[in-house]
Structures are given as structure tokens and as C-alpha cells.
């Protein structure tokens, strides 16, 4: 078979694999830029996956599914926000608890949904563009959520760098006390950031249960929340690097499966490790100066803030 023609489904598969990571990681980028570390992505993704699946089955509409997923993720992140922002609990411990809770709750809620089918969100079809050979398949043959993830990236890039609210969010992430002293509400901004992260994690989860593998099974995110979390750190809290990291991760995963199909004599354990290793190596090379990570890390990341302190 023409090896070039094989590339197209490979690239398509890479994009599908990377999209949930992009949603989850971009949301977490905003959360962390505001100075909050939410380790509960995996839990919120699963809740989003089960909520999206249930809503789509109930309503027959993917749109409603994704909206329900976003709200479910937000509901869970609200719990996190209340605990860490109001009650000032430890963010690491609370985030871990959120993941455990999300895994358990989604399994409980979704018990009767296992094994049921749902219609997959269909790819878009733009009359002329989709029909162009190769280019159409490469660029104009994905589902709407893929394009929205790119839009989300552009929006976040603009928000963080060019909008007043975005600069305020960054200021709060760097120094909540200073921001507070000039009259900015740390709590409100952080709450909004946490809710936004919850919504995108929920959408990421629904992408798994409605697009990638349209079904619900317990623990179906199988660690993707953690990968998203790692992408944020290795992408040094910069949306562009985070998105590139997600595509790289998806691409190398796809490549290693592809290499196996061709019967390359490389140990599969090594190949399985490759996506992780390659992502780490490339992102480390991008920011090879250790100061870059330190400089880019929001200074108050993970610290509770109390206005009286």
C-alpha cells in the first residue's frame, strides 16, 4: 500500500488522540496560572465522560452531551474550589481526593450505562473543502470539537496575553497579596479559573466517551488526566507549548503502534515508553534553561491565599 496514503489516517488518529489532552491541559493551564494546582483532572474527566454519555443517550444530542459534561466537571471543580479556596485545605491532597472521588462516583453513576452504544459525533462536512483530496481529509474531516479545541487555544492565548482579565489572572497567580492589596478579588478570579478548568476537563472526558471510543466503561480515561497535568508543567504553563506537547504525545503514540504494525524489531515496552519519553525530551529541549521553568511557574502555585495573611 502507498505509504503516503497511510499517513493520512495516522495523522487523523493523532489529532483525535490529542484533542482530549488539549482540552484538559489548556483548562489546567488557566487554573495553574491563577495559582491553583488542581490534581483532580482525571476525576473530572471521568465525571464528564459519564455525564456526557448519559446526556447524549437521553437526549440524542451531542451538544447537550458536551454541555452536560462541562457542567458536571464544573460541579466537581466547585467542590474543589470550596475546599481549597474557602476552607484553605491543602491543594495537592484535595486534588488527589477529587480524582479518587471522581473515579468512584463515575463508576457508581455509570454502572447501568456500561455496554450501551451511543452514536458517535459525526465529522463535519464542508461542501467543497472536505471533498478536496488529501487536504480535505487532513484538515476538514474532523468533528467540531477538534476545531473548537483550536479556537479554545487561540482564545486562551489572547486572554492570557492581551486581555485585562487575563493579565489580572496572571498577576494573582504570581502574587495574590499584591493583587489583593490593589483591590483585585483573588477568590473570585480563582473560583472562575477553577470552574473553567472543571468545564474543560469535563469536555475532555466527554470527548472520550462520545468521539474517541463512543461508549462508557469504568475508568475509561486510563491516566489521560495525569498526562494532561504533566503537559502543563512540561509546556511551562504556555498554551502553545502545551498544545504542541499534546500533539507530539498523540503522534508518538500513533507512531509506535504504526512501527509495530510494520514489524519493526523494537521491544514493545520501549515503544510504549516512547510517547512519554519523547514528550519529556522535546519539551525539556524547548526550555533547556532550568530557569525557564522556574520563571514561568506561577509563583504562588499551590499556596493557599487568605486575605488576612
Amino acid at each position: 500500500m502507498n505509504s503516503f496514503m497511510i499517513l493520512i489516517p495516522m495523522i487523523a488518529s493523532t489529532v483525535i488522540a490529542a484533542t482530549p489532552l488539549i482540552y484538559a491541559a489548556l483548562g489546567e493551564t488557566i487554573v495553574e496560572r491563577s495559582g491553583v494546582l488542581n490534581l483532580g483532572i482525571e476525576g473530572m474527566m471521568l465525571i464528564g465522560a459519564v455525564a456526557g454519555f448519559a446526556a447524549t443517550r437521553g437526549s440524542g444530542s451531542d451538544t447537550i452531551g458536551f454541555i452536560a459534561a462541562a457542567f458536571a466537571g464544573m460541579a466537581l471543580s466547585l467542590v474543589f474550589g470550596f475546599l481549597t479556596l474557602n476552607l484553605q485545605t491543602n491543594q495537592v491532597a484535595t486534588g488527589l481526593a477529587l480524582t479518587l472521588f471522581g473515579i468512584g462516583l463515575s463508576a457508581f453513576v455509570g454502572h447501568d450505562l456500561a455496554g450501551l452504544p451511543v452514536d458517535k459525533l459525526a465529522p463535519i462536512n464542508i461542501p467543497v473543502l472536505t471533498a478536496i483530496p488529501i487536504v480535505g481529509d487532513l484538515l476538514f474531516h474532523y468533528d467540531i470539537m477538534v476545531y473548537l479545541s483550536i479556537a479554545l487555544y487561540i482564545g486562551i492565548q489572547w486572554f492570557l496575553n492581551s486581555s485585562r482579565a487575563g493579565l489580572q489572572l496572571r498577576a494573582i497567580g504570581e502574587s495574590p497579596h499584591v493583587a489583593h492589596s490593589i483591590g483585585k478579588s483573588v477568590l473570585t478570579t480563582r473560583y472562575l479559573a477553577v470552574l473553567f478548568g472543571g468545564a474543560t476537563a469535563g469536555i475532555a472526558g466527554a470527548y472520550l466517551s462520545l468521539v474517541q471510543t463512543p461508549m462508557w466503561v469504568e475508568g475509561m480515561s486510563s491516566g489521560k488526566g495525569w498526562i494532561a497535568l504533566a503537559l502543563v508543567v512540561f509546556g511551562t504553563w504556555k498554551p502553545t507549548r502545551v498544545v504542541l506537547g499534546a500533539y507530539l504525545f498523540g503522534g508518538v503514540t500513533q507512531f509506535q503502534l504504526f512501527a509495530q504494525g510494520f514489524g519493526l524489531p523494537i521491544p514493545t515496552e520501549f515503544l510504549s515508553m516512547l510517547p512519554y519519553a519523547a514528550t519529556v525530551i522535546v519539551l525539556v529541549i524547548i526550555c533547556r534553561d532550568p530557569k525557564t521553568i522556574l520563571l514561568n511557574q506561577p509563583a504562588s502555585l499551590g499556596h493557599s491565599f487568605h486575605s488576612a495573611a
Binding site: Q212, M215, V217, E218, G219, S222, G223, L257
Partner: protein
């Protein structure tokens, strides 16, 4: 992964608590207490679900002469030892351990409870009160090959492997042999995903195999992701453990599933009438009804169904053995001589591809 384990430990804590809370009260007729320990949740749509259906079948057959319980989501770690110990201490006299990884914990617990009978799936260590049982999966995969070999247009089959262990390598070999018997031009491509369960990765592996020309993909992983992939691409796939046709009516041609109830009933009866003995290794297949083929897809032409039924009948009668010689490995070395069956040693440690499979088994 670590987190997952922690979580399982949590659930386990709850589960153990529940088991402990069950009153150990003696009933008038003293029903035999039978316990099942599951690796996954009952609703996993595959492996564990089939075991639980076996348990329900046992309850139905034996009525109030027995009492069953189960503990789900038990990790293959020292945690499982606690579960086995607890069950044995609570008076369960027959305990089915339904995952390979319970082997070592079971050995320890069995020594402490000589009057409790343990049954371990797919293992290889027996004892005075431990027996091992497993399905002859290779028969199911041979028949999958029979269908795949006849249905492929590209003469390329795909196989998504979990881990390159002998019991999985046997399945890809059996499938390829089954296919070659009906279509000598067939080649098989294998992809190992190094996980039993990761729908996203299984999906990617299936997409890759299909892109590389494999129009019939079988799997030895747990989710229906590859059936969905085939359904979308208009190719064929095969289920494992359970019937997964609800995820791809057009795509799933057949599949290999297990029905454990017959074995569970037989063993329970043996315990009740006192004929149960230890140190046994039971392998049941199509003949005994432990391996059951999922319904055939109506898209399979009648001639192909006829070949399938013929091979199936011969496997049941014992006339046909999946690993009967001559078999060469894919480097041309003779694996099984003509006229012989594969010797048990090779069978139990199989780590080579037969002729017709691309590449080599990862070491």
C-alpha cells in the same frame, strides 16, 4: 497506576468490610458457601462479567443448597491475600479466584486453610486444595481465523495483543493457523499495546492496523474499541470474552466468549458430594461449552459458515487440533512435526510466531 491501586485498595476496604459484616450465622440446612473473587467490576462488559454470569448460573442451578458471594475490583497484589483470608475465615468452603495474578497470594492462603477448596483460573500452580481451570482459548481463536481467512479481501489480518505472554501468543498463532487452513495467502500483523485495558490506545491500534490494510482485526484486550473502529471503517472485527456486537453490528463477525457456569456447577457438586480432589488442571473448550462462539454475522456467506461449522464440529470431536503439525515458526524452523500435536512444554511457554505473522514476538 499507583493511584488506581490506591483507589482499588479503598474499594477493597469497603468490600472487605461488607464481607466481614455478613453474618456467619449457621443456617438450618447449612448451605455450601461459595465465593468468587473478581479482578474488575461485574459490569466490565467482558472477562469479569462472564464470570459473574457463571456465578448466577450456579445459583440458579443449585438454588438454596448453596450461598454465593463475590468481591469485585480486587487487585492482583497482597490485597487479594486479605480478601481470600477473610472469605475463608468467614466459612466459604469453595473459592474461585478469577484472575491469573492471584496465584501467589492463593498459595499462601491455601496453606493456612487446608479444608477450604480453591479454584484458580489460568494459573499453573496447583496444591492439595488448589486446582487450576482454564478455557481452551486457542479453539475460539482458531475458529476466528477460519472466518477471518475467508472474509478478508486484503489477505491481511490484524491482532491487538495485550502482553506478549504465552497464553496470548497462543491466540494469535491459533488464529493465524485457522486462517491459513482456509486461505494460504493470509498474513497477520500484530500490535502490542502493553495494557489489558485502555480504550483510547486500543482504538489507535485498531486504526493503525486498518490503515495498514488489515481488514479483519481480532483482539486480546478488553474493550470493544476495535469493534467500533471496524464499524466506522467498514471492515471486520472479532470480540473477546463477551459478545460485543452492540458496538458494531456490521463489524463483528463472531468472537470467542466464555461460559463458566457449567464448570462452576460441576465443581460445586463435587464439593457437595465429597468427590472434589486437589492438584488438578482442567482445560475445557468448545466441547464442554466453556468456550462459546459469539453469534455469526449474517454478512458471512453460507459457504464460509459451512466451513466454520465443519471445523467447529471437528474441534469438538477432537479430530482437529489447533496446534497439530506440521507447524513452522515464521523464521522457517519446525515448531511441530507433521503428524504430531504441540508438546505441552512448547505449548505452555509459546513465544514464537507461526509462519504468516509479520515481525517477531517482543522479548
Amino acid at each position: 497506576m499507583k493511584l488506581k491501586r490506591t483507589l482499588k485498595a479503598f474499594r477493597l476496604g469497603i468490600a472487605t468490610g461488607l464481607v466481614a459484616a455478613l453474618p456467619a450465622a449457621a443456617f438450618a440446612a447449612e448451605p455450601l458457601k461459595v465465593a468468587f473473587v473478581y479482578l474488575g467490576p461485574r459490569g466490565d462488559g467482558g472477562w469479569t462479567q462472564q464470570h459473574d454470569m457463571g456465578r448466577l448460573g450456579l445459583e440458579k442451578a443449585m438454588g438454596d443448597k448453596i450461598k454465593t458471594t463475590f468481591v469485585e475490583n480486587v487487585p492482583e497484589t497482597a490485597d487479594s491475600e486479605r480478601v481470600f483470608r477473610q472469605l475463608a475465615a468467614d466459612g466459604y468452603k469453595l473459592i474461585f479466584a478469577t484472575s491469573f495474578g492471584y496465584m501467589e497470594p492463593l498459595q499462601k492462603v491455601a496453606k493456612s486453610f487446608p479444608d477450604v477448596k480453591f479454584e484458580h483460573v489460568n494459573g499453573f500452580k496447583t496444591a492439595k486444595n488448589i486446582v487450576v481451570y482454564e478455557p481452551r482459548f486457542e479453539e475460539g481463536f482458531y475458529l476466528i481465523g477460519t472466518i477471518a481467512g475467508q472474509m478478508t479481501k486484503t489477505n491481511t489480518l490484524g491482532f491487538i495483543g495485550s502482553f506478549p505472554i504465552p497464553s496470548v501468543v497462543r491466540n494469535i498463532d491459533a488464529m493465524t493457523l485457522g486462517a491459513e487452513a482456509v486461505n494460504p495467502k493470509v498474513k497477520t500483523k500484530a500490535i502490542w499495546v502493553n495494557t489489558w485495558y485502555d480504550p483510547g490506545k486500543e482504538r489507535q491500534a485498531a486504526d493503525t492496523l486498518i490503515a495498514q490494510g488489515a481488514d479483519n482485526v481480532a483482539q486480546n484486550t478488553d474493550s470493544p474499541a476495535s469493534i467500533q473502529a471496524a464499524q466506522e471503517k467498514g471492515t471486520y472485527a472479532f470480540s473477546i470474552d463477551a459478545d460485543m456486537s452492540s458496538f458494531g453490528k456490521k463489524a463483528q463477525l463472531t468472537g470467542t466468549t466464555e461460559d463458566w457456569s457449567g464448570y462452576y456447577i460441576a465443581e460445586t457438586k463435587k464439593v457437595m458430594d465429597g468427590t472434589w480432589t486437589g492438584d488438578r488442571h482442567t482445560r475445557w473448550g468448545l466441547k464442554e461449552g466453556m468456550v462459546v462462539m459469539a453469534p455469526l454475522n449474517p454478512a458471512i456467506p453460507p459457504e464460509a459458515v459451512k466451513v466454520f461449522e465443519d471445523k467447529k464440529a471437528k474441534l469438538i470431536s477432537g479430530e482437529l487440533k489447533p496446534f497439530a503439525g506440521p507447524i513452522k515458526d515464521n523464521t522457517g524452523k519446525v515448531l511441530v512435526a507433521a503428524g504430531a500435536d504441540m508438546d505441552p512444554k512448547t505449548f505452555n511457554s509459546l513465544s514464537t510466531y507461526v509462519e504468516g505473522i509479520d515481525g517477531s514476538v517482543p522479548k
